[in-house]
Symmetry: C2
Subunit: 339 residues, 2 copies
């Protein structure tokens, strides 16, 4: 039944958004090194996972790996760079320090046209970094020293930026501290108040395990569009099968986009389930950033009037590019790959 109130108050569409996507996440520089499976075994690393490490462990792992390359990373930051590379307008909120890596992180966002709203510099805590070990099978195993990135609080949010983004995109990785959880809820409210959509990526099944109840209540209360892979979704609902998790997520969310590696992706709504194939690539070199760039393609499509299948196809194109080379961000303008 339609409420009579709507006939007396002026219902307006939200003002035109300045940004297509506003990302919030852990601002990290990736330190990428190659190693074999024996290295993972020696250092008790679980292939494909993301593990939070303290300073000592970070130093130890860094000392143990071979020559490394430093590239800006961070899951949501990779995503907003992907959106920009497709021609979208993106902004990023995350916390760095006043050091070399913090400078590089900001540069690499601005260099692709992403608006960076960094909040206050963290004093005395270095910029976060993620030691990524890439094995010959192209899998990446991540060891994250959060540093400044984890110190994000609600005070660091530029709410004008949040209110000016058509879709807010929040990274589950950040969800390990109470301040960050508060920041997520605060940002999600600000986005909804401005008539925007709120999306979240689950990021990692271990992260989901650590904060399952908080994730579930955040998703039920505030999330319109959920990203994750099959493993993360199954972990979220502690389901015995992926199919059960799909049933659960249809109850909780207006929309979920779930990646399944080489098997492609599913777009799940209460009404439908669409399956979209992955983009074949000649050689998978490094899977770092695959999920991040899938989200980039999907969000670009979503904010540019594509249907859900088209969104997932754009996701597949962007993910296909990033797994073809070392590093978590596109090496070509993604817009040139879209015809």
């Amino acid at each position: 039944m339609r409420c009579a109130l709507t006939s007396v108050v002026t219902v307006t569409a939200p003002p035109k958004a300045q940004f297509d996507v506003v990302g919030i996440g852990n601002a990290l520089v990736d330190v990428i090194a190659h190693a074999d499976d024996a290295f993972l075994a020696t250092h008790e690393l679980v292939k494909g996972s993301m593990t939070l490490v303290d300073t000592d462990r970070a130093v130890h792992l860094y000392r143990s790996v071979g020559s490394a390359v430093e590239m800006s990373g961070g899951s949501a930051a990779n995503t907003v760079c992907g959106v920009a590379s497709l021609g979208g307008r993106a902004a990023y909120i995350g916390k760095v320090s006043d050091d070399d890596l913090g400078g590089a992180f900001g540069h690499d966002l601005r260099a692709v046209g992403v608006h960076f709203a960094p909040g206050a510099h963290a004093d005395g805590v270095p910029t976060g970094r993620c030691v990524i070990v890439v094995t010959p099978d192209a899998e990446r195993t991540m060891n994250t020293y959060l540093g400044a990135s984890s110190l994000l609080t609600p005070d660091d949010l530029d709410l004008d930026v949040v209110a000016n983004g058509q879709v807010l995109y929040m990274e589950g990785y950040l969800y390990d501290r109470d301040d960050a959880k508060a920041a997520f809820r605060h940002a999600a409210s600000a986005a909804h108040d401005a008539g925007r959509l709120v999306s979240l990526t689950l990021s990692d099944s271990f992260c989901v395990d650590r904060h399952r109840d908080d994730f579930r209540s955040l998703i039920t209360d505030r999330v319109d569009l959920l990203f994750g892979n099959a493993e993360e979704l199954t972990a979220l609902y502690e389901s015995d099968t992926f199919a059960e998790a799909v049933t659960e997520v249809r109850r909780d969310c207006r929309m979920a986009a779930v990646t399944m590696g080489a098997r492609g992706s599913l777009v799940i709504t209460p009404e439908t389930i669409l399956e979209v194939a992955a983009r074949p690539v000649p050689k998978v070199v490094d899977t770092t950033g695959a999920g991040d760039l899938f989200a980039a393609g999907f969000l670009y499509g979503f904010t540019h009037g594509h249907d859900l299948e088209g969104c997932a196809r754009l996701g597949a194109i962007a993910a296909g590019e990033v797994i073809s080379h070392v590093g978590p961000r596109p090496l070509v303008e993604l817009r040139t790959l879209v015809v």
Copy 2:
């Protein structure tokens, strides 16, 4: 005529060297970005050259380039890493600061087994960096902010390390300050006193132009083995033709190894000139490090009993690997390419 003295003093071979090659150079982290020729024109950059820039210019150029990747570089440092990658024992002397990039620089040497003798940390001066613009034709244009690297003085030399290297390898790039010139002469004397060979790379024709007389007297007085490309050698002697420069260098040096890009290299001694072909590669991606890795292969061969042609062939193999990918250091163990 043989001097009678040799019959009364005991002439001994120098003690077995701990290192095959000891490099001295500018300790730099490369900041690598891709851009087109128009970018070079806009910023008045001369393709293929190395330009020294001050802080303001470095900041300006960095702000202007797109997303970048940070990798340890520095000409002589690349060379000693190449020697280590071939299975040789190498050490490096150069100056960094106590910051992220300085840490990465040291890590990347140690990670491949190079002994790093950094001297004292530079206080308040950041680690040097080289903003490298790679154009679509794979040429690299380098803009070097020397930072801490240029503060090397004779006091920073670990003379035990120098005396323990079968060949001392000095990088002409470092030769822009009087302290560094003094350090070169000091190191060369220490090497000769220990019965070692002294080699020098000319590095850059502009650098040769700036310091031609000093280079020539250093070469005549102290250098046994000279590295350079055809352009640098021609600049050194202000010759009208490369052939004239070859004639000159035969008078000055026991040996010169001269690279000529895709045309291969020449090994020049007073008695002979050997020409060795370049190693064909499927695709030249980034020529950064080509000369450095040629020197690595040559020096590895030279310290492992190869004849001069074999030395140049090893140089061609090492250079061929490094131009096949982005970045100035080998991505595979070079020893696996040598059969």
